[in-house]
Symmetry: C2
Subunit: 134 residues, 2 copies
Amino acid sequence: MISKKTKYGLKALTYIARQEGNMVPIAQIAEKEHIPHKFLESILLLLRKSGFLGSKKGKGGGYYLLKEASEIYMTDVMRILEGPIAPVACVSLNYYEKCEDCDDETTCSLNKLMIQVRDANLNVFRNTTLENLK
Amino acid sequence: MISKKTKYGLKALTYIARQEGNMVPIAQIAEKEHIPHKFLESILLLLRKSGFLGSKKGKGGGYYLLKEASEIYMTDVMRILEGPIAPVACVSLNYYEKCEDCDDETTCSLNKLMIQVRDANLNVFRNTTLENLK
DNA sequence: GCATAATCCTACTTATCCGATAGGGAATAT
DNA sequence: ATATTCCCTATCGGATAAGTAGGATTATGC
């Protein structure tokens, strides 16, 4: 199950994408998408620092997409918001960590299944962009 | 990412399946798979109560599979150990819950993507049994 | 019958993370 | 100036994850 952070983040990105380049203030997204204002603020901050969003302060300011919606892939968004796409770190492409309880990963009984799950999810996320959510 | 409970549970089931019907005591699994004994105990208890395992107390006792490994589907095991397979409750087949922040689920921008993710995972788990992990 | 080996069960602890909030600071438009 | 908006750090309560404790219960073999 994905976190609310991820869910809110995806909804916010979609909302912004629909405004076609206009500045979108946090308050507007929060109200329309029923997301707690301050929580959303921290999520948009993260998305800005991660290179998805630009922002402008002051009256008339807000957030906007830095790239075309069709160039924003779910693989990248999910990795920032949710973390690893793989179900276990030892088969993660971007967040690899050695397995503590395994003597040998290549002979681990779960390895194949975990890779299948990872690839099934990657396949979905690689073929979905923000444009597809609009 | 799956929990350690799930990972340990799957490893334990695989280990038991490999013993071809013999009684397997907790201590043996814990040692060979490097799983904390008491933690494993609670997991096996759950798997027994869920109908996957049988047990026998006393000397020479232990756990054994109640069904053929080829009849134990990952969909069922994962739902017990990890919970919903769907990434959000509002597209879950077995753990459905209404979405709080959505006015209308059918028009939610995330709905399609979440269903795709759910189905991708279901497809893997439906086509994998414990026999495949042996 | 008794020691031993195993599961059964409830409760507890401890640490971590999630979701959310607080409170001000800094920039910008009018 | 002032209102508006994002920026940043810190904090907090609650839930969940991971693991532990300790004894009760049941079965075996001598």
